[in-house]
Symmetry: C2
Subunit: 349 residues, 2 copies
């Protein structure tokens, strides 16, 4: 075998490998894709030829016929024209939340040789870009993380019949799979803990009201406190950023100086709240107990933060799993997975 000339020019193709191995293109394709039986000695010869030529299959050509690309879009969708001066991409990636989701997705996809393509959708134009991207066959499906509940992208995807999985339940029900946390249960965990440790005057700093998760954490907390006999819980709205937690805490303490416990809707704001309490000379947890939400490893607090743990990496991996299922089987049942949070007790409460 291996009679003749190495690849003519440019990258070696299947044809080249076939020639070197002394077999046909089809046979080489068979051994590469492991379909049907090929005599062992021929397989051997083909493998040698592949090694000899340094052959790598061309993705575009394969993709053209299989109608699969081996990549999925990882899209962060939100409003670009927000108040802040920073461009959307800067805000998105600065958020540890995104990092954890990306990490979870990559952790699941990587062993399966699927690659995520990063996309941002913050305007009608860019949302259409995402849809086009998928319709072009540039990716097999989309993993969508929306920063706001009213995001129109999920519906566009559903209408176009494209495989997609969402992070979190959409504001209005549409037939699409998603993975979400039991936010109310998490908030209740915090309420129970605060009450159990003896807090009598409890308040909360919530996330933006237009984010369903924030609403759920707020109302879940209020309901749980009501069950404990505290029908009124002072609440201020934050934006999930540290500065808003700080400002919110100041406002709360000014209006209700006797507060002895606070549930903050995420760790970033809790960090800000801690700073505010320190400035006000309140000890944590002796004077005021603080519970955060998320359990972000990146957020270092003083004292270490008691928080409701959201297993983001696992949830992200679950999204990826669902998406691959939808891609593999177009009739795969629309599914929603709700993950249960746990309370991580450290020192702040």
């Amino acid at each position: 075998m291996s009679t003749d000339l190495p690849p003519a020019s440019g990258a070696p193709t299947l044809e080249d490998v076939a020639r070197v191995a002394g077999v046909s293109r089809a046979t080489v394709s068979r051994v590469i894709n492991g379909i049907r039986n090929v005599a062992p000695e021929i397989q051997e010869a083909v493998h040698r030829a592949i090694a000899a030529t340094g052959y790598v299959p061309n993705r575009a050509a394969r993709s053209l016929v299989t109608r699969r690309t081996g990549s999925v879009a990882l899209v962060v969708s939100g409003a670009g024209d927000a108040k802040g001066g920073e461009p959307f991409e800067t805000r998105v990636f600065a958020d540890p939340f995104f990092g954890r989701v990306a990490g979870g997705v990559v952790g699941y996809l990587r062993p399966r040789s699927i690659h995520p393509v990063l996309m941002l959708a913050d305007s009608a134009q860019t949302r259409d870009d995402v849809v086009s991207f998928l319709r072009q066959g540039s990716a097999d499906g989309a993993l969508v993380v929306s920063t706001h509940g009213e995001d129109p992208l999920p519906k566009l995807l559903v209408d176009a019949g494209l495989p997609a999985v969402l992070w979190a339940r959409p504001a209005r029900p549409i037939p699409i799979s998603y993975v979400d946390l039991a936010h109310r249960a998490g908030a209740a965990l915090a309420a129970d803990h605060l009450v159990a440790r003896g807090c009598r005057r409890v308040a909360t700093i919530s996330g933006p009201f237009d984010v369903p998760a924030a609403q759920d954490r707020l109302s879940g907390f209020q309901e749980a406190m009501a069950r404990h006999g505290h029908p009124y819980v002072p609440a201020v709205e934050g934006d999930f950023m540290p500065a808003s937690g700080e400002a919110g805490m100041h406002r709360l303490m000014k209006e209700h100086p006797d507060i002895d416990g606070v549930f903050v809707a995420n760790d970033l704001m809790a960090q800000g709240a801690l700073l505010a309490l320190r400035d006000l000379g309140r000890r944590v947890p002796e004077d005021v107990a603080v519970i955060g939400f998320d359990d972000s490893p990146a957020v270092a607090c003083r004292p270490p933060l008691t928080t409701v743990r959201q297993p983001m990496e696992d949830m992200a991996a679950e999204m990826a799993r669902l998406l691959l299922a939808h891609i593999a089987d177009p009739n795969f049942q629309v599914t929603s997975v709700i993950v249960q949070p746990t309370l991580v007790v450290r020192e702040s409460a």
Copy 2:
């Protein structure tokens, strides 16, 4: 015109559009790609046909003939078998550093309709995967961020003749374009500021010695201090994580209780150092002045951190720009861009 049948089945193809518009495939291709002159009324007809059919060009087919994909790999390369228990993807994405780089890259690429594909290379296997990915024609080039100076990936890329641009100068010189910061100059800025504000006993917490940038910041700082008449600067090594900054600060203060100024090699560690100083009852900046490095917006400190600003987003955008240049012109000159840092004076020094 528009005589007949809409697209046969499945997604409409060029052929379908051509039929509806009453022209040939080639003509439709021409108007889509804007090559050569096509009579205005025909262009008009083609556009109507495209709208009517809902045509979207197939990426794979186009890519097969143009040998371009319109995407680039964004690879984070480092050692997977590090001490820590966390998987590589978790550590990478938790780091605000990565987020800023990704933001800068996306900000530049997005308006140009190029999409970044996220890849992690933390073992020989995964490094080969990156090379294969590019050789397959799955991406037109690579943007590589290495967490360690001795990363073998850049050389693999160069040897394979693949377009690539690095974040930071490689440990040993290889012919590849990169974007880096003038670390020594940045460290000198910190030294000058510390001396100018009257610090007499200055120390530093450096990054890991196997990261060239950390070395440069350390030696740059030491040299600048020497110029100011302080030949000896106590130094401890950290790992760029907050906990190591905290531990390092404790060690420094124990061994040299009279320290009145510290230069910390990144903001995350500076945050830890600030915590340690507070625990030790030292006021910042009155007792000890602290200067960080990076100017990470995500790192909220008390007091606000004086730091050496590294314009990561701009640097990342520059990487992307260089990469596109290399892709467009294979003979594009290997280039290194060195960006000058600035000192951002806030309250900690």
